[in-house]
Symmetry: D2
Subunit: 441 residues, 4 copies
Amino acid sequence: MTELIKKNAQTKRSLNVFDRLESEVRSYCRSFQTVFTKGSNAMLHDRNGKTYIDFFAGAGALNYGHNNPHIRTKLIDYLLEDGITHSLDMATDAKETFLLRFQETILKRRGLCYKVMFPGPTGTNSVESAFKIARKVTGRTNIVCFTNAFHGMSLGSLSATGNAFKRGGAGLPLSGTTFLPYDGYLGPLVDTTALLEKLLQDPGSGLDSPAAVIVETLQGEGGLAAASGKWLRSLERICRDNGILLIIDDVQMGCGRTGTFFSFESSGIQPDIVCLSKSIGGYGLPMALTLIKPEHDIWKPGEHNGTFRGNNLAFIAASEALRYWDDDRLAKQIRNHAEVIRDFLSRMASRYSDKIIEIRGKGMIQGLVFQQPEDASRLCKLLFERGVIMETSGPHDEVAKLMPPLTIEAEMLQKGLQKMESALVDMYTGIMPKAAMQMKG
Amino acid sequence: MTELIKKNAQTKRSLNVFDRLESEVRSYCRSFQTVFTKGSNAMLHDRNGKTYIDFFAGAGALNYGHNNPHIRTKLIDYLLEDGITHSLDMATDAKETFLLRFQETILKRRGLCYKVMFPGPTGTNSVESAFKIARKVTGRTNIVCFTNAFHGMSLGSLSATGNAFKRGGAGLPLSGTTFLPYDGYLGPLVDTTALLEKLLQDPGSGLDSPAAVIVETLQGEGGLAAASGKWLRSLERICRDNGILLIIDDVQMGCGRTGTFFSFESSGIQPDIVCLSKSIGGYGLPMALTLIKPEHDIWKPGEHNGTFRGNNLAFIAASEALRYWDDDRLAKQIRNHAEVIRDFLSRMASRYSDKIIEIRGKGMIQGLVFQQPEDASRLCKLLFERGVIMETSGPHDEVAKLMPPLTIEAEMLQKGLQKMESALVDMYTGIMPKAAMQMKG
Amino acid sequence: MTELIKKNAQTKRSLNVFDRLESEVRSYCRSFQTVFTKGSNAMLHDRNGKTYIDFFAGAGALNYGHNNPHIRTKLIDYLLEDGITHSLDMATDAKETFLLRFQETILKRRGLCYKVMFPGPTGTNSVESAFKIARKVTGRTNIVCFTNAFHGMSLGSLSATGNAFKRGGAGLPLSGTTFLPYDGYLGPLVDTTALLEKLLQDPGSGLDSPAAVIVETLQGEGGLAAASGKWLRSLERICRDNGILLIIDDVQMGCGRTGTFFSFESSGIQPDIVCLSKSIGGYGLPMALTLIKPEHDIWKPGEHNGTFRGNNLAFIAASEALRYWDDDRLAKQIRNHAEVIRDFLSRMASRYSDKIIEIRGKGMIQGLVFQQPEDASRLCKLLFERGVIMETSGPHDEVAKLMPPLTIEAEMLQKGLQKMESALVDMYTGIMPKAAMQMKG
Amino acid sequence: MTELIKKNAQTKRSLNVFDRLESEVRSYCRSFQTVFTKGSNAMLHDRNGKTYIDFFAGAGALNYGHNNPHIRTKLIDYLLEDGITHSLDMATDAKETFLLRFQETILKRRGLCYKVMFPGPTGTNSVESAFKIARKVTGRTNIVCFTNAFHGMSLGSLSATGNAFKRGGAGLPLSGTTFLPYDGYLGPLVDTTALLEKLLQDPGSGLDSPAAVIVETLQGEGGLAAASGKWLRSLERICRDNGILLIIDDVQMGCGRTGTFFSFESSGIQPDIVCLSKSIGGYGLPMALTLIKPEHDIWKPGEHNGTFRGNNLAFIAASEALRYWDDDRLAKQIRNHAEVIRDFLSRMASRYSDKIIEIRGKGMIQGLVFQQPEDASRLCKLLFERGVIMETSGPHDEVAKLMPPLTIEAEMLQKGLQKMESALVDMYTGIMPKAAMQMKG
């Protein structure tokens, strides 16, 4: 134990630059107290030579792994040939290539028709732009969003984010949105879209006529609750019936995370607007898209803009990453991995049925819901100690969330799951007492 | 002329991918109708083999030029050695290096003491975070901003942006800000900070007690109006007297644009919060900082966050770019270039004293204010035709703005200015009639 | 018929002063197209000598009838003796008398303890003041209100009013409130307070922590839906548990309308704030009260004010009206009348069970809910023709609402009900064809 | 002195009902610590038999004095003949009479053409309705208002009220308005409408296009600053040029207070909307009007409403009060009184030129601005002691404001002014030391 404590102390010392110079707002570096140096697909290295299996994948920004070699080659070539890196929203070769490939590989094959907007390089830029265009198209101001939604941290997107702590950060009352219960929020028997429809049909309901409904098909930050296809279709129909635009925020769930490129494919809906970011940049590079049905693309030039709309390195990486969608190999691999994960989690859930409430999620974002919310954090802490990066999710941080790169090697996935199993064993057989573990936090 | 028209037609054809697939919101690609392929310091190449001198510099994001070779080397090395690219806000080697170098090279030497926040990779992220922390620190909600300010396009920062067209894009009334006249807005004799002070001292003024004042020292988008040192010091004193935080938005003016690393250095003020983005990323890569005086750094962990806070390629580039500030060579070069530009503009302004109202700006962001606002656009269009990228600024787009990379070679600068001179000659001696030029637009 | 048409024409002529000089916003005078001249308890006279039984009672402002003789005597005496009419919020004899009597007759006997605020003479003033003090006491901004609530037409109270048409009148997005389903809104099996509690307990629900919940025990404008005692007690408990103030808007339901002075008495709850207006003025004179639990009465002097807080004629009338509560005679009479009304409505509802969905309401505010919403208006129109003033209610105006003065004579009540019965007979037996009736509208 | 103290003690005792039962929000009764019983024109009586000259006139609601006998007779007659007291917005004889008389006596003779709206019985109702219709007519949301404006205390009107303490009472950030400097705010040489025009012409000013400008011609609560005719005409022209509605808030300044029925008559402007309340009710009874140019009267029926729109006693009183405007006798009397007041104040101002900065106001609302703001309160306290009711005004309560009934007898006015003179003498000659007076406060 003395060694462990010493090592902890060293690690802490090694973070002193951050403690000293970086703002108190820093967060993940507090859970994962080490200095990382290298990454390769699902493997991370820290300064002390320790390795970690990455079950977090940049919160969904690294679906194609760290330093994907195919992509890297393209990036280096582009850099060496003096390719334009930053272009505002001017036309470049790299952007043209991306637009064409996205059209061919993604939209056309899925029978989808969207104009592509580059709203700035982050998810929140995409959500802000989606709200703007929806309000412009409809002449209405209200946006319907859902309990436990996460859509971003700038003032517009934050107003559609459910988390009270994050909302409080705004420092002034948020407005322009109405929260309604997400699928399943009122129990499995209640179709919460019926409530939406009732409120819309009732001129006395107090629900101001919405410009748009924004929804995640699966709530990555909100605890991995998932909307059923039926619920999404019902939502789409209600939107159509009421002249409301349907926005799918696929920032975390898109780019294959749930098994298909867009998370809504299996539901058959055709959103009016789709927000994409995180893994669209292919290599963890900042990039975002707002996909807009052509009939709604009534922007005036420059009505929304931003300096980093033209991150061409990201376009290069993104174009290369799209090659993964040329055929169905990646999709198949996701399916296989997803099954492995599901089987494993089922085993855990039934073994610890008094500790684990249920499994949630889909594809390569799945997790365990713990009876005692703090168990999720305990597990993540223990796993970090043992070389696995994993995070919690949910309003009470009650879900331990697995979200490896989609490209993770089968053995690496297995290894991570084994570590997870042994951590659960240790947690629940008393070998590692609660008190000791808190000390390490 | 027929050749010119043919060429134009070709160029237009070559943009058809963008016309077809990209949203109507695209803007700069409409002014600069070609597909760019390569860049090298202040030189851009397009697909047709034509070259352009870049007097726009990514709207201030490319102070160190396109594909700066020192920085590129570091980027490629980092990519090759499997350096972490995307790290959320976990600790990495690359981030530590940046923090230390920023501390040593920038803050310490200037006697400044700030905690460094990574608010997400864009200027608007920084401004949003600045508003949040200012509101938290003071418990107040109002933000004072100034006529013709530009602070960003997400809902919070947009509410502090003056431009009516951009504000209209929000689709709902913006609130939480109060606009006051910028330095010089009421003529050279009126100190507009006196109005602020009067309103603050008058409990009946209707000015809700501000959490912060946000100001650009020079309004890059707002027409290159500049605040005097005296005005800034007065503003700082009023803020101090009234418990208001002073935020300098140095997103466009920082990183040397006006001659010093921070644009406010010569004024002697010490802002409570500084917003940096654009060129802080060194190579045109998305990155932003919010600098916060330690006593105001009362964030709770994660109270503001974002996926792309940890763009490590940008940290690598940024760290290398900071080397330019190890000594005063860059600063000297800026001063020399600035003088060259000023002399040239003075010559133009006195030659066309009936067409040009005045010269505005400072350092390597200067411009000509035209009597007929449309002349500024005419000039920029003509220059694009002749191989110079330059943009307009100001509420009526009445200013032609020169903003080359700080690292531009002296000859290239001269060449660009010569092209500008001959364009002005042609515009104002009737050789190129107005009608013909509009055709080219 | 020709006579009817002629008479209609005359009536219309007689409204031409209003048509010509009054704003288009006028409304009730369009439903009740005549010029009224005199009133006496439940009887109204118009200029043409026609009489009407008043089943509307000034929308609840005339619980003690028109020109109540006891009250009138007091008013005339006060006027003749040079009593102060208008006193801002200075102390007057008349105000002291009212305060003492209200304390003795109303609060003390009910074991209630409230400080009395005079917020201005209307219900909306009271609601605005209630929101202010609730926000001040809690430091929170959000107000929870309910579907189909009506709380007033100024910007603050309007934000808690459900009606879309009325909300739209604001001309800008309303904020600061969250609407939740009222008791019974999701069917008789769903306790909607459970939803409130769930949202409060879920830190990700997006429900900003409320300063207050405002609720009507029976929705006078919203279609006569009533909250059960159980629901109100549950609401009170949830408020207590979460530091939320409970505001009862008793503007229309107070002063005996539902059978007790306060409408919430039978439920046993003790609201933190009670809004009273309409009949508190006794004689139809503008007056309102905001009752505040002493521990919440943390106003600074003048923090809310208004010119007509001191309408002393209303204090005189109000004090005299309170005599009705010295014993239980009025309460008994209300009970008797209520039973008569209920019996009558039950008879109608069962006779026209295919036309009438249900009976709603309580005490002396009861109504019929029609299958075809327009039948409610048809009935009211027909009744006006035949000398009864009655109005519709509900989001679709689907409820015909009976709300006579509490002091109505038994025979007059009977007479009105008989007219109602014969109108229903005529409506539903085809004697009076639909087309003819529309002509008369 | 002991007697004085004893008397004070008694008075204080006599307020104990109010101290015990009324909310802490009560205010004027703290300055004027006695219980008033009777009033007659400009004379008030308290419970102790003491009389007071009323130089406050119900904050402008009693322009025709207390218990004006002509009006009282009409009220009593109406009450005795069973006239309708409360009519919502149904048509009544009393309302018709008022409409006709207002049309003939007021509007027609002044060449004004307005539809008359009854928005509810108070000034704030009128302002709220004015904002609604202006926003509806223009489709814009912003309202321009002025430093030190007072427009009311409900959420909409409060957002246009400058006083920080009153604004703070809202408990949430106020929005939808922009404050600009009132006439004279930047000194006598600056025409502040020029600033408005500059901001409107500058698309980068951050001033959201206004639906309306609301202004008082003389700021009754804001310290008696007055707008010049030239300034008002300039404001009107700017509004016309920019499609902005001009709202005059004549709630306090209307009904003859400044010498003409409308305060803006001498300026020659024709506002789009006029808000009237306070003395329009003639006898201190709650009543308000919103006058709307016919072309802007695009309300839908009931889009704004309220229970007490039809206060028929007020209509009766208002109609009788309008008789004062049948000829120019009242106007002449106001002019004479105004001159007497002006002469007196000039004398005081020149005698105490080191204590009194200037005279402000017009007609029968005039006041002294004191060097030491607290002197204004000292004077008012002293005068109350000596039998004169007078209040302070201004952001620092630095103005002692004279506002007697317009109908005050010449001798009573003289008597009041004499008391004021002797109070000033005593204050400034040391006979009554500062400390002693504070004791009495």
